[in-house]
């Protein structure tokens, strides 16, 4: 550790400009030093502590979701064991490796920033960005595959969302041929799926809920008109939803996908934010903002990126590797 220069170390060759009114020698010497700090070390330590406090909030932010995961899994252990097999372990595994590698390149970026090596710094940040993009591309393929199979959250897990009459109501200009196509072989993009879901009223969902218990064969027999509707709904969707044909599927399997999308979705949002941050760091690095005296943003960005990585390292076994 002793090899790493701290920001307090002498600032060689900095022009003294600005901040004259405060009369602090250090403020003239270090143009990045803000007026309410006395030394660069104090500023750096404050920023770093602030980042750690922020990371603590992040951990609690995800912590509630991890608690929710634990409770749902405790309530429905069979669901988690069963539904986990729908996730692609290979893709998840590759993504884990991609993220770990991007954490390595991020750490190297911090290393080069501390040593004022502009070229390698920009290159490492670029590699980190590539890792983030790669992660999201793989995640995109995973999500779209799930949407194809209708492995989604809530009631729509049991019933495709592009119900014929609803589409007619919402998009009257669409050609009937397209509609027929959609109802027999739903080919939904994620955007369309969520848009249709928003339109699904609550009343409709309660009807679906009854059907939801059906496929597992564990629901108590309901009234005959409802049952008929149920059978009809099943007939209409059997081809589209192969997972419903599996007699071994436990009740409430949709809960697994609800928490899966919540947690990986929130993680994905953090990756996107991280990409914006890395781009900003790259822009700054190319303009030569960072050197051995001032590399705080790179350091803090690194911390953020590591926590995003770390959260995924917990998510991967919790969802993909349940046996």
């Amino acid at each position: 550790m002793s090899a790493i220069p701290t920001p307090t170390h002498d600032a060689h060759g900095h022009d003294a400009h600005g901040h004259g009114e405060h009369g602090h020698g250090d403020h003239g010497k270090y143009p990045f030093l803000r007026h309410h700090f006395d030394t660069p070390a104090q500023q750096f330590d404050s920023a770093k502590l602030g980042m750690w406090v922020f990371l603590a909030t992040e951990i609690l932010f995800f912590g509630a979701l991890f608690a929710m995961y634990a409770i749902l899994r405790f309530k429905h252990p069979e669901v988690f064991e069963y539904a986990s097999h729908y996730l692609d372990t290979i893709m998840g595994g590759i993504n884990t490796c991609v993220l770990i590698l991007s954490s390595l390149t991020m750490a190297m970026a911090v290393y080069f920033a501390q040593r004022s090596k502009k070229g390698p710094l920009v290159f490492c940040l670029f590699l980190t960005l590539l890792g983030a993009v790669g992660f999201l591309v793989i995640k995109y393929f995973e999500y779209t595959h799930k949407f194809h199979e209708n492995l989604v959250w809530g009631a729509s897990f049991y019933k495709p969302v592009d119900e014929e009459e609803r589409v007619i109501v919402t998009t009257p200009h669409q050609a009937p041929a397209t509609l027929a196509e959609q109802s027999t072989a739903p080919d939904l993009s994620p955007g369309a799926a969520s848009a249709a879901l928003v339109k699904l009223p609550a009343a409709d969902a309660s009807v679906v809920k009854k059907a939801a218990l059906g496929p597992g064969g564990l629901a108590p027999a309901s009234g005959s008109p409802e049952q008929e509707a149920e059978v009809k709904a099943e007939e209409a969707t059997e081809k589209a939803l192969p997972h419903l044909l599996d007699p071994k599927m436990p009740v409430n399997t949709h809960q697994f996908f609800a928490i899966y999308y919540c947690m990986t979705g929130l993680h994905g949002i953090h990756v996107v934010i991280g990409m914006g941050m890395i781009l900003w760091l790259m822009w700054g690095a190319m303009r030569g903002r960072y050197d051995g005296n001032y590399y705080t943003p790179v350091d803090l960005g690194g911390l953020y990126w590591h926590i995003v990585d770390l959260i995924w390292i917990f998510l991967f076994p919790l969802f993909y590797l349940i046996h």
């Binding site: 405060h22 602090h24 020698g25 250090d26 803000r34 007026h35 309410h36 700090f37 006395d38 104090q42 330590d45 404050s46 502590l49 602030g50 406090v53 922020f54 603590a56 909030t57 992040e58 609690l60 932010f61 995800f62 912590g63 509630a64 979701l65 608690a67 929710m68 409770i71 749902l72 309530k75 429905h76 669901v79 959250w153 809530g154 009631a155 969520s194 879901l197 928003v198 699904l200 609550a202 969902a205 309660s206 809920k209 939801a212 009740v251 409430n252 949709h254 809960q255 609800a258 928490i259 919540c262 929130l266």
Partner: protein, 556 residues
Amino acid sequence: MPPAAAAEDNYLTHGRGILSWALTLDHKRIGVMYMVAVLISFLVGGVFALLVRTKLLFPGEVSWMTKDQYNQAFTLHGAIMVFLVIIPSIPAALGNFVLPIMLGAKDVAFPRLNLASFYLWLVGAGCAVWALLAGGFDTGWTFYTPYSSTTAYQGVIPVLTGVFILGFSSIFTGMNFVVTIHKLRPPGMGWFRMPLFLWALYATALIQVLATPVLAITLGLLAIERVFHVGIFDPAMGGDPVLFQHFFWFYSHPAVYIMILPAMGIISDIIAVHSHRHIFGYRFIAFSSVAIAIFSFLVWGHHMFTSGQSGLMNVVFSAITFSVAIPSAIKVWNWLATLYRGSISLNTTMLYGLAFIFLFTIGGLTGLHLGTLNTDIHLHDTYFVVAHFHYVMMGSALIAMIGGLHHWWPKMTGRMFNETWGRIGCLLVFVGFNVTFLTQFMLGSHGMPRRYYLYQPEFQIYHHISTGGSYIMALGFVITGIYLLHSLFWGKKAPANPWGGKSLEWQCSSPPPHDNFATTPTVGDPYDFSDLKWDPATGGYATAPADGAKTSRGGH
């Protein structure tokens, strides 16, 4: 900066025009803007409270307020008072103004984050207005599922967005305070030389940082549940509605301590300064703040004694709830011991301080009734609960905020307010408050449930008294508002140290200069008042030649 110029140039005159306020990074201006915003919200929330109380004069239906309007009115009263007023009131308004000066720093650690926090507050308040325009909401401020995920009111999503954003505003303030207190203490300012208000703000900031994210994600999940019907809180789909309550109270119980801890800090300072006596048991008060912060995370289950929680959990939560009484009582006894043989000035500020001790004791002790498992079965969801938390949230937290406002008013504005009217206002608020809420303890123990629009005619006399009390209290607040505004224009110029305080903010001029300290402040014992002398020429206190350890900021 020469001292002569410092007396002229203060933070209020440093830069003019709207933009110099809107884009300011000065913690003092941000604190003042927060204060104005919070007081306006307090007015709005208070009007909703008066509407609710006025309806309750009559047991049956009234023509001018329907049941739905009533549900919306008490929901708005609760949501505004909790999220827009009490939570930001002391830390973000008073704390922002006072903390860096008390510490001897030029600003908080992250001034831009501080300003962002204020703008997030504004956006959150805007979302509340959006919720009203979208059709309102009637879930109560607690947003319990499954009602909140199914109610037809369209204002639920906007208000969830608003509270989510307000949460980040609160987190930013908390982050700033934690880092400022850790890293920006000048040489000589050790942890045990900090005024107790800073200890309280530090403990509060820890809760803000650690509890608020859980609320954010909980409300996010509720929004997802409401929009996508994922079923995580819906028992018909294998979800768990009580889980929402657990998540909600995991934040919202600590949030009660976000409200009360800084209030206790203010009172510690007010009691010591206005009785001109060294605070009794400094370390006990300081550590009890941290103890309360730790306990605050372990008691949330006492909100679910009747929600089907397991018996064992009820017992455990009940026991931990009782333990909170220990650090709370430590503080109260230390305040009383400070008053003992003190030279007490019974000015407006001190009256608010004494009112706090009285009201907080009632609020705290009635909390024990509710923490007891068997009495809680009887008292749960009655007016007893309403009275209890009003004693703590309003009678304690808000009274301390108003007391702190008076304490630092000369420092913030540079003007003195009228003491006579101040005392009258305080008396009206105190009497009105007790008439309003002591009655509600009786109402509740007789079985009147909270939030009901209709009630049995035999309760009417209590409701009449309670509503009458709320009008007295409102009158007190109106008088307070009038003389404070009056003092802004016609008040006497305030001296640097009108009360005889010893913490650093009384060492800089009133109002403070832009950079807080024209000359390097001397850090000493914040409660050693022995070397302060009354100076009739300025109408304030001045330090007799200091022989304490002279320290210099920055070290160059």
